[in-house]
């Protein structure tokens, strides 16, 4: 197989994930796009391992080992990422990353503040509802 096929597919998948990370607003959709980028890297690793195990008689199989490590790290990343997103949702009532501007620079401090309190108003209510629902 021509090596350009998996390499080009991997590059295109990576850029698709890049677009998703940059353009999406929901934090979980951003995590999905990160998964796409990680998978593009995995495809590259596997393809180059299949090439080098013959061409260079590589017996380490470093590409496949690193792909497995990437899969495991991606699983850990998605667990932690979702826990963070859920914690942010419980505190703020939204998982929209465009609204999480508390540490943004170059903005009028009144503007995000009033915006934040306006957005935050339903958050404790939602948390309270959740507590009642779980109780």
């Amino acid at each position: 197989m021509h090596l350009a096929y998996p390499a080009v597919l991997s590059a295109l998948l990576f850029c698709t994930g890049l677009y998703g990370v940059l353009a999406r607003r929901n934090a979980i959709l951003v995590l999905m796009s990160v998964e796409l980028m990680l998978n593009a890297v995995n495809l590259n690793l596997v393809a180059f391992d299949a090439w080098l195990s013959r061409a260079a008689e590589d017996t380490l199989h470093s590409g496949q080992a690193l792909a497995l490590f990437t899969i495991a790290i991606a699983a850990a990343e998605i667990g932690i990422g979702l826990a963070i997103v859920l914690a942010v949702y419980r505190n703020r009532g939204t998982s929209d990353i465009d609204r999480l501007r508390d540490t943004a620079e170059g903005h009028d401090p009144d503007d995000p503040d009033s915006d934040a309190t306006g957005r935050e108003a339903p958050a404790p209510r939602a948390a309270g509802e959740k507590a009642e629902a779980t109780a």
């Binding site: 197989m1 021509h2 090596l3 350009a4 096929y5 998996p6 390499a7 080009v8 597919l9 590059a11 295109l12 998948l13 990576f14 850029c15 698709t16 994930g17 940059l22 353009a23 999406r24 607003r25 929901n26 959709l29 995590l31 999905m32 796009s33 998964e35 796409l36 998978n39 995995n42 596997v46 393809a47 391992d49 299949a50 090439w51 195990s53 013959r54 061409a55 017996t59 199989h61 496949q64 080992a65 490590f69 495991a72 991606a74 699983a75 850990a76 990343e77 667990g79 932690i80 979702l82 859920l86 949702y89 419980r90 505190n91 929209d96 465009d98 309190t117 404790p124 948390a127 309270g128």
Partner: protein
């Protein structure tokens, strides 16, 4: 030229001359299968990042990841293909769906799924894709993967190399997974039992701020 004719000439070329003369315009059957599955994968990935229905995005992600598993099989990496199916399609997508439900994502079309800088993001990704594809295609124009013979990624081969050469990173990874497990539990637990008292406290806080 039809695909069948292309496959026929490709088979002819591969049978007559073994590995010396590969042609751009004579793809083998594996390459055609890789191309078709790759198109499906790329299309599913593009729908994943552009659809406005959040749950559909997760389901199209399943198609993209499953297509990648097929690509691994075509690259003779069986073990990674099944690990991909188990971990990504099995657990990561389920976790993402749980996350979507727990954050009460809207089920129908949500018009604000994409942010305002979508066109900048599109320009950045198209430029990056053009640059990467150009560089990669130019660099590996004359490189072929030899997929004949014993598979390079069967469970036996992968396991032997993993536990002969990669034992220390493997163990470090298990520690990392344990840390991630504990971290995820701590992150989600604190919010949970702090919800009853913490919600009241934050309400009082926000009223005090106001």
């Amino acid at each position: 030229m039809t695909l069948a004719a292309a496959a026929g000439t490709a088979a002819h070329a591969t049978t007559t001359t073994a590995a010396e003369t590969h042609g751009f315009l004579s793809p083998t059957g594996v390459e055609i299968a890789f191309l078709l599955v790759g198109l499906v994968t790329l299309g599913a990935a593009i729908i994943t990042v552009t659809t406005r229905q959040l749950v559909h995005a997760a389901l199209w992600l399943v198609v993209a990841l499953g297509g990648l598993a097929v690509e691994y099989l075509l690259l003779t990496a069986e073990f990674i293909a099944w690990v991909q199916v188990l971990i990504y399609v099995g657990s990561v997508v389920v976790l993402l769906l749980f996350g979507l439900m727990l954050t009460r994502a809207p089920i129908g079309r949500s018009p604000d799924a994409d942010s305002g800088n979508r066109w900048v993001a599109l320009a950045v990704s198209v430029v990056a894709a053009a640059a990467l594809v150009w560089v990669v295609a130019d660099a590996f124009r004359t490189t072929w993967i030899d997929l004949d013979g014993a598979p390079s990624g069967s469970t036996e081969v992968t396991g032997a190399s993993l536990f002969q050469h990669w034992v220390l990173p493997f163990e470090a990874l298990s520690v990392l997974l344990l840390a991630a497990l504990v971290g995820a539990i701590v992150l989600s637990r604190k919010a949970k039992d702090g919800a009853a008292t913490g919600a009241r406290a934050t309400r009082r806080d926000s009223e005090g701020v106001r």
